[in-house]
């Protein structure tokens, strides 16, 4: 205490010292980021809604008047909707996030359950016409959403992914379906799934808009008194958790497994790529990076506007911001350098080019898991409040 007193005495000498200006109550750059990120997520949800509407209409048209044109239109509508959704994948905050997250509404898994998929389950629905059931919208997510839709709209083969123990194989009911009947049921099933996706898309927008759940305000007003985000830091943690999509789903699922770096016994495992039937695995990764950049750098044109990088720069951690932005640009460049239209062909013809994409995604996640969360004192996902000392 004597030393403390001495220190305090030393502090109180009369020499003028250069000091930073005191806080003026100006807008906190962290709060600004939360506000901008919320707006970005609402904008993305709003962008997605008309695409989901168009997709629903296209699948209804296909169901009612199947021909080459309506098939092409439905597939095009799928691509357009998926183009927006893959951007939204990196924005799983609040209504889109799992229920275990702050404000989680689990809408994302209902729209797109990747990496949870089960083609056999979809085929069993085709046979049983389970999609006609009133309770279909609350059935397993692997029977619904974009993954089911991709199979239903793009896969034209006759074989089933179900094993011999599945009832539709054991009882011969799959084999008993004629090609026309199977195609007809796929179209009907696709229309039901697209309608369900549209319902969820509307629910997502409703959850964010001021006249609905107003989650944008919930996020922007994080702090004492906010039941969902009692502090700015909790809200920033939620945002940063969403960014870890590029590790969990991006690096480890979409890239490492097809590259046979894990969970694969062969030289490559293209059957583990994200998009099995629509051939958009490469495009999906590219769009994931777009979503990532909109949160990290800003949601405006050319990624202008408040982002995590602005918080880092304002705090004096320019080097971390630069490193993070640089890694993303390198990952984008690696993806662009893959000459093939999709990763399936690239794995077969130029595996090293896909490996480079993996390496650059790892570069992003290395920065996220080290410099980024250290500097901002964030917790990695699934962090536990504990007796940490």
């Amino acid at each position: 205490m004597a030393l403390t007193a001495l220190l305090c005495a030393a502090c109180s000498d009369n020499k003028p010292k250069p000091v930073d200006p005191p806080p003026t109550g100006g807008t906190d750059v962290r709060a600004e980021l939360l506000s901008a990120a919320g707006a970005c997520m609402l904008t993305t949800a709003r962008d997605f809604l008309p695409k989901a509407t168009a997709l629903q209409a296209a699948t209804v048209a296909l169901r009612d008047a199947p021909d080459a044109a309506t098939v092409a239109a439905a597939r095009a509508a799928y691509h357009e909707a998926m183009d927006v959704w893959q951007v939204a994948e990196v924005m799983q905050v609040g209504p889109a996030a799992p229920r275990s997250n702050p404000g989680g509404g689990e809408l994302r898994d209902n729209i797109y359950s990747f990496p949870l998929s089960n083609r056999c389950s979809v085929e069993e629905q085709l046979v049983s016409k389970g999609y006609e059931s009133a309770s279909f919208s609350s059935s397993l997510v692997t029977r619904r959403g974009f993954l089911a839709l991709e199979y239903l709209l793009f896969y034209e083969g006759a074989e089933t992914a179900c094993g011999p123990n599945s009832p539709i194989v054991a009882q011969g009911t799959w084999a008993a379906l004629s090609a026309d009947e199977r195609a007809s049921r796929k179209r009907a099933y696709a229309a039901v799934v697209a309608a369900d996706v549209h319902t969820r898309a509307q629910a997502l927008v409703d959850a964010w808009v001021p006249e609905g759940g107003n989650f944008q305000k919930t996020l922007a007003t994080a702090g004492p008194g906010n039941a969902v985000f009692p502090s700015t830091q909790v809200a920033l943690n939620t945002l940063s958790d969403a960014l870890f999509y590029v590790e969990r789903e991006g690096k480890d699922q979409k890239l490492a497994r097809p590259l046979a770096l894990r969970d694969c016994a062969s030289d490559t495992c293209p059957e583990l790529l994200e998009s099995q039937f629509a051939g958009r695995s490469k495009q999906n990764l590219r769009l994931n990076l777009v979503g990532f950049r909109r949160i990290v750098e800003g949601c405006g044109a050319d990624y202008a506007g408040p982002g995590f990088d602005d918080v880092l720069v304002a705090a004096g951690a320019e080097a971390v911001a630069t490193r993070l932005r640089q890694q993303v640009v390198e990952a984008e460049a690696a993806l662009a350098a893959v000459e093939e239209a999709d990763l399936k062909e690239a794995l077969a013809q130029d595996k090293p080019s896909v490996q480079r994409v993996y390496d650059d995604f790892k570069g992003i996640t290395d920065v996220l898991k080290t410099d980024f969360i250290t500097t901002l004192d964030l917790e990695p996902p699934a962090g536990l409040e504990g007796d940490n000392d």
Binding site: M1, D20, G25, R262, A314, A317, L368, E385, D389
Partner: protein
């Protein structure tokens, strides 16, 4: 052979006898009984927290892989279904300690169960759990149940108003070790010159009411860093000195209240506030009680005319054991100096050394497995084996990286039937420095033995200074 050391005083001129007189002098048991009650209560509350927050499942049942302490790999894991019962037992034993029922058995069981829980997984290591284990170990030798306990109530023969002074001295020594080494651990340039990691932690708490905007000001981090270091390294002196003790304890309460409000450190402040009570006069509970009841208090007169017998060989063995324990407690925190380098980076000698809140460290680890025969490579993300919490701890602690590398090697060798090499690509950021590799990525960890010796495959710590964060609100005000 025994000899008289005088009536609790310093009657004998012989140093050896004086030492025994000092150690065996009767002291009021009241303070130790109060300490027993408080510690039992804290253990019960801790166990209840683990059960209520679901930490038993998250920390002990969910992990598929356990990190063991060196030399304790033999400790078996109990079935996950029994874990809640283990924590219920801890809670019940805490209550028994509190009320002083079956004390001798209770305190030994409590130490065994508490230590067992700590030994289950290194990634759950926390300094204050280690401290509680040590305090329980010491209580095994301290008969703190001879008053204010159910045992003393139903067995009058047990009752004593005093205990020998060594009982209090041992506990004081233990608590003093924590504070002093926590203070010494802060004599680093990161802490004193750069105010890290406090600057990082405080800057992230600007949303707090009233004080929030101040917390990202750098001078606040410096004041907290220097204040914390001075507090830790000097508070024991002020607690030992009778005249400053009450004021020092108020500072203890204030300091730990602030750390509790600012940081997620759970029971730590409560344990230290309880631990600091051992520095008070042995009769403080009676004095407090008298004050509450507004009764006159004149202190407890030390027993007079009671000759302290210098114990024979058993007493000397006990004293030897106590001295050995004390030396161990001093040497353990110092052992890192035998390794050289920055302990916050290489972590050799980090545990059991009271380096409390001295680092903000995060890592990213990937294990690269290579089949030595076919040359095929796999990348193994730690998440394949670990929970996120385990992964976070493992990624910054080389001995844990080594343990997981060995497990991965065993698994791959079992499936490939070939020898494999395991290398680790680990990048770590320490106190806001840009991340750098922690371990040599060319070293086959599958061939490295674990042990207490230096690990040459750990790369040198970064030499750059840690990050200096600016106040973001002020930055905005200046027209960012």
């Amino acid at each position: 052979m025994t000899e008289s050391a005088g009536g609790g005083g310093l009657a004998s001129p012989r140093p050896w006898a004086r030492l025994w007189a000092w150690l065996l002098a009767p002291r009021d048991i009241a303070a130790l009984a109060a300490f027993r009650v408080a510690l039992g209560l804290l253990i019960t509350v801790s166990a209840a927290r683990f059960l209520a927050y679901g930490w038993v499942g998250v920390l002990f049942a969910q992990p598929k892989f356990r990190f063991t302490y060196w030399g304790f790999g033999w400790v078996p894991a109990i079935p996950a279904a029994w874990l809640p019962a283990l924590f219920v037992a801890l809670g019940v034993l805490g209550v028994l300690l509190m009320v002083g029922l079956f004390y001798r058995v209770t305190v030994v069981l409590l130490f065994a169960v508490f230590a067992y829980v700590q030994l289950l997984d290194v990634t759950n290591y926390l300094n204050h759990y280690y401290l509680v284990s040590l305090l329980l170990a010491l209580l095994c030798f301290v008969p703190a149940h001879r008053a204010f306990s159910v045992d003393a109530w139903w067995r009058p023969a047990l009752r004593r108003d005093t205990l020998p002074a060594w009982c209090t001295l041992l506990l004081r020594f233990q608590v003093a070790v924590v504070y002093v080494f926590a203070g010494l651990a802060k004599l680093t340039s990161d802490w004193l010159v750069h105010a890290q990691p406090l600057n990082i932690w405080l800057a992230a708490r600007t949303g707090l009411p009233w004080v929030g905007p101040l917390l990202e000001e750098r001078w606040v981090a410096y004041a907290a860093a220097w204040g914390g270091m001075l507090f830790d390294s000097t508070i024991v002196l002020f607690l030992l000195w009778r005249r400053t003790r009450p004021f020092a304890y108020v500072v203890v309460l204030g300091f730990h209240a602030v750390t509790f409000a600012l940081f997620p450190i759970g029971m730590f402040p409560f344990i230290m506030v309880t631990g600091a009570l051992v520095f008070f006069d042995p009769s403080w509970p009676r004095a407090l009680w008298a004050r509450v009841r507004r009764l006159p208090w004149h202190g407890v007169a030390p027993p007079s005319g009671v000759a302290v017998e210098v114990p024979g060989w058993k007493g000397r063995v006990a004293l030897g054991a106590a001295v050995f324990y004390a030396l161990l407690q001093v040497l353990l925190p110092l052992r890192t100096h035998a390794y050289g380098g920055n302990v916050l980076w290489h972590e050799q000698g980090m545990r059991f050394s009271w380096r409390v809140m001295t680092r903000e460290k995060n890592g990213s680890a990937t294990f690269v497995v290579r089949d030595s025969v076919t040359g095929r490579q796999w990348h193994v993300p730690p998440g394949q084996y670990l929970t996120r919490l385990q992964e976070r701890e493992m990624a910054v602690q080389p001995d844990l990286i080594l343990q997981l590398a060995h497990r991965i090697a065993r698994d791959f060798e079992a499936t490939t039937h070939h020898p494999v090499e395991v290398r680790a690509d680990v990048r770590v950021s320490l106190n806001g420095r840009l991340s750098e590799p922690l371990v040599d990525p060319t070293v086959d960890l599958a061939r490295q033995e674990d042990g207490l010796g230096p690990k040459p495959w750990i790369l040198p710590a970064p030499v750059s200074p840690p990050v200096h964060l600016r106040p973001t609100r002020a930055a905005q005000a200046r027209g960012r």
